[in-house]
């Protein structure tokens, strides 16, 4: 039976291998699916980020441009008011208005007359010369804005706005208003993405930039040069894209965007021209990661969910496989074995024995037909439970003696059939003798007073394959004939078919 058992184990191993193969295929398919999902998800996020960052950059530039436009409109309106006054003495006008600057957002206000005389403080006059501000004034159409410079009066970066106005019956002059650069920085402030949005003013000709907003507050308001702080940082592969973007600015295109990488970060950068600040542009840059960080978090959650789902599915598969295997094993046991004695049932025995005997001419086997003597009397005297006990213990003795090399079966009631994979009749006879001794020790109950002189015996008819029969039915018939003769001769004995007297 052990051999039979080992044959079943090998089937089980094959079955397990096929199960694990299926599991690996399943995991591979899941893995490929997850990779495809991630690739398409990332690509979607990338495209979405690029579009969104470009849109946000454009919105920020528009916001700044609108704010600057509002300031220039205010300057133009103020110039119109002064023009309407048609003042003939600019010094008097300057003295009056320069005293009334409290609570205004500008730092200073002054005038330039038709002869380019400047009405301003001595410090401002120095700055006009130092920063060649008259050149900017000449660009006014009707407004112009200077490049930022550091004001002596307030010690901060400022810019000056020039607006045309008329005085003294049509003479053309300029009104100028100087604002702290902080005004533009305030315009640049955004509630969201404050830390990630970098905003500069950029002069196309010089590549100079002034930071208006960014994560590093120390650099806000300071000068830099885009060759050093942007172009040299950008990955080599994106240099051409940046240069093309810059060329568009140099050629006067009103706005353009570019996407480039600095290390592992992707940036989208947009510029837009500034009305009246000739040659200057608003540049906004946002790293894609600032937008995708929330989506990345969602991506992580989805990944976690998928991983848990996958692990749960695998565990479910394995548990289901184990349960199925166990159920199969139980069902197989029930269909092969006799439930009382755990030896094979008749159907299973016939199947196994036929299969074994069909192996070929060299196959050796002996078939034993055993019958417990007077079993009915055991049942009658000691009850069915005692009968069952006898059968169980007798089967156990059979397994112990023949289990290594035989198929053992309960054929019905007290009948057992054994196919021994050996034609060595001497050896088989020794085993049967041994069985007789073991049977004698089997008792229907534990109480000696109760079973008294009870001794279990059996009768056995044996036949040898292929000599006594070259197929199972014939072999069984031969063994049965031998058994019949043993029973006829008084039982408690075993006899071989080939020893029987010839039938006349």
């Amino acid at each position: 039976m052990k051999k039979k058992g080992s044959m079943s184990h090998s089937d089980e191993i094959n079955e397990n291998i096929s199960f694990f193969r299926m599991l690996v295929i399943y995991l591979l398919i899941c893995g490929i699916g997850v990779i495809l999902l991630l690739v398409s998800f990332d690509s979607l996020i990338r495209n979405h980020d690029r579009k969104l960052t470009a849109d946000i950059c454009t919105l920020v530039t528009e916001k700044m441009n609108n704010s600057i436009r509002y300031m220039t409109s205010a300057a133009q309106n103020m110039a119109d008011v002064f023009s309407a006054q048609n003042c003939d003495d600019l010094q008097e006008l300057y003295d009056t208005v320069s005293q009334a600057q409290e609570n205004s957002s500008y730092v200073s206000l002054g005038f330039i007359d038709a002869e380019q005389k400047i009405y301003a403080t001595p410090t401002e006059l120095e700055e006009f010369e130092k920063w060649r501000l008259l050149e900017t004034a000449d660009l006014a159409d009707p407004i112009s804005i200077s490049a930022p410079y550091r004001s002596g009066e307030i010690g901060q970066p400022v810019y000056t706005m020039f607006a045309h106005f008329t005085y003294d019956n049509g003479k053309k002059g300029y009104l100028f208003l100087t604002y702290p650069l902080k005004e533009i920085q305030a315009m640049a402030y955004t509630e969201s993405l404050t830390k990630d949005t970098e905003i500069w003013l950029m002069e196309a000709a010089s590549d100079n930039i002034i930071q208006c907003a960014g994560s590093n507050t120390y650099s806000i308001g300071s000068w830099n040069n885009a060759l050093l702080s942007m172009r040299m940082q950008i990955d080599a592969a994106d240099q051409n894209a940046y240069i093309q973007w810059k060329n568009k600015m140099n050629s006067g295109e009103k706005n353009a965007s570019v996407t480039y990488h600095i290390g592992s970060e992707t940036y989208t950068q947009v510029y837009s021209d500034i009305d009246f600040m000739y040659g200057w542009y608003v540049v906004v840059r946002i790293p894609s990661s600032s937008l995708s960080s929330a989506i990345q978090q969602f991506r992580k959650s989805v990944m976690l969910f998928l991983s848990v789902l996958l692990v749960a599915t695998v565990i479910l598969f394995i548990l289901s496989h184990k349960r199925e295997a166990e159920e199969k094993r139980v069902l197989e046991n029930l269909s092969i074995h006799d439930p009382l004695t755990s030896v094979m049932n008749r159907r299973a025995f016939d199947f196994a024995a036929e299969k074994y005997l069909a192996r070929g001419a060299k196959t050796e086997a002996s078939l034993l037909f055993l019958d417990v003597d007077y079993f009915k009397q055991v049942n009658d005297r000691f009850g069915h439970d005692a009968g069952d006990r006898i059968l169980k213990e007798f089967s156990a003795a059979l397994r112990e003696l023949f289990g290594e090399t035989s198929y053992i079966s309960r054929y019905g009631g007290d009948e057992f059939v054994i196919l021994v994979r050996s034609a060595d009749t001497v050896k088989v006879s020794e085993l049967l003798t041994h069985l007789q001794k073991k049977a004698e020790k089997i008792k229907p109950c534990d109480d000696p007073e109760e079973y008294g002189d009870f001794t279990l015996t059996f009768s056995c008819g044996a036949a040898v394959f292929p000599k006594d029969g070259d197929h199972l039915q014939e072999l069984k018939a031969s063994a049965d004939s031998a058994l019949y003769l043993v029973k006829k001769n008084g039982r408690n004995h075993f006899g071989w078919y080939f020893d029987m007297p010839p039938v006349k």
Binding site: T123, R150, G152, G155, E203, L227, L228, M232
Partner: protein, 344 residues
């Protein structure tokens, strides 16, 4: 033999560099010392406290301290001084400001290590009514009386102006291609960046269209050996006619390589005064200018203005550009240039 000497020189240089680095590392762990007298201390005189950025091993800051001492001696006040050992140690400055206030300072002259982080403490000192003069670096607050510093943007413009002048002097064809190479010592130094921005601002406006600045701006990261390599690389450009060093190290690098290669066709504009640049200026075969800051004036005027403020005077302006001077073959003999050079 030359190789052996070069090898030995490299080893010595490495040793010195390592020694300097170790020293600097050690310095980063050192907090600023207590205030020390810079002038004779006499009871009854005004007490001015000077706080500098770099207390040791900096000729630039030594000149500022010298200016403050001269002002203290000339104007009859007690000057105490201290400062951080490295420019990033703003916490030491915060502590020193508190100590100066607690010691009853009549006025404070401060070169802030950090424009942002020190603003709160600067506000506090100013609100206590102590006159506060900033030098070298401005702070991100309005609560100070006045700041004396070099307007580096303007200094950069001056450098570009000088470069165009030298190229013209060399007879460079304004209609033919010509290139100018730039080397900087750091990409994060506001001083250097503003000089660079000033240079580009002037250049973009006034340089002939066929002349260009090479977009590949070299950065030597403060390494003297790398400064030489950067200079050598720039000198290989075929149309190179001029080079601009935005700080002392870069200028020294250019001066050494140009002298070694005898590139008399290259105009040099640099910053600060070193033995190497002085050697080129003295040699008529080369076309060279260097731009000097007036840091002595920052120290002197800082103390002088602090005393005036203490006496109730009000400053009409918040920011005073102490300016720069251009030193070249033509100006080196001038009295004002010699005056500035005497402090370098």
């Amino acid at each position: 033999m030359k190789r052996i000497l070069a090898g030995l020189f490299s080893i010595v240089l490495c040793g010195l560099t390592t020694s300097c680095q170790t020293h600097e590392n050690a310095q980063t762990e050192r907090s600023a010392p207590d205030f020390m007298p810079l002038t004779e201390i006499v009871d009854g005189r005004d007490n001015v406290y000077l706080i500098v950025k770099v207390l040791e091993n900096s000729s630039y800051w030594d000149v500022i301290i010298e200016g403050a001492r001269d002002a203290g001696n000339a104007l009859g006040c007690n000057v105490y001084y201290s400062g951080s050992y490295v420019e990033t140690d703003w916490a030491s400055h915060e502590r020193l400001l508190g100590e100066a206030s607690a010691a009853g300072a009549d006025a404070i002259v401060l070169a802030p290590d950090d424009s942002v982080n020190l603003s709160g403490k600067i506000d506090e000192i100013y609100q206590e009514g102590i006159p506060l003069v900033l030098i070298d670096t401005i702070a991100n607050t309005d609560n100070y009386d006045v700041c004396y510093m070099t307007d580096n943007l303007m200094a950069g413009q001056e450098a570009a102006k000088e470069m165009l002048s030298l190229l013209e002097k060399q007879g460079t064809d304004t209609s033919a291609p010509a290139q100018v190479g730039i080397q900087v010592g750091a990409t994060s130094s506001l001083t250097i960046i503003e000089r660079l921005a000033g240079f580009f601002q002037y250049w973009s406006k006034y340089a002939p269209p066929s002349w260009e600045v090479i977009p590949d701006i070299k950065c030597n990261e403060g390494d003297t050996e790398k400064a030489l390599v950067c200079a050598e690389e720039l000198l290989e450009y075929p149309d190179l006619k001029g080079v601009f060093g935005a700080n002392n190290g870069s200028t020294v690098g250019f001066a050494k390589v140009i002298r070694e290669q005898e590139r008399k066709d290259i105009a040099v504009v640099g910053f600060d005064y070193s033995e190497e640049i002085a050697g080129l200026i003295m040699d008529d075969d080369y076309t060279v200018s260097t731009i000097l800051q007036k840091q002595y004036d920052m120290g002197y005027q800082g103390v002088e203005t602090a005393l005036s403020l203490k006496d109730g005077e009000e400053m009409p302006v918040k920011f005073i550009d102490t300016g720069v001077i251009v030193v070249d073959q033509d100006t080196i003999g001038q009295e004002d240039v010699q005056e500035v050079l005497s402090h370098n």
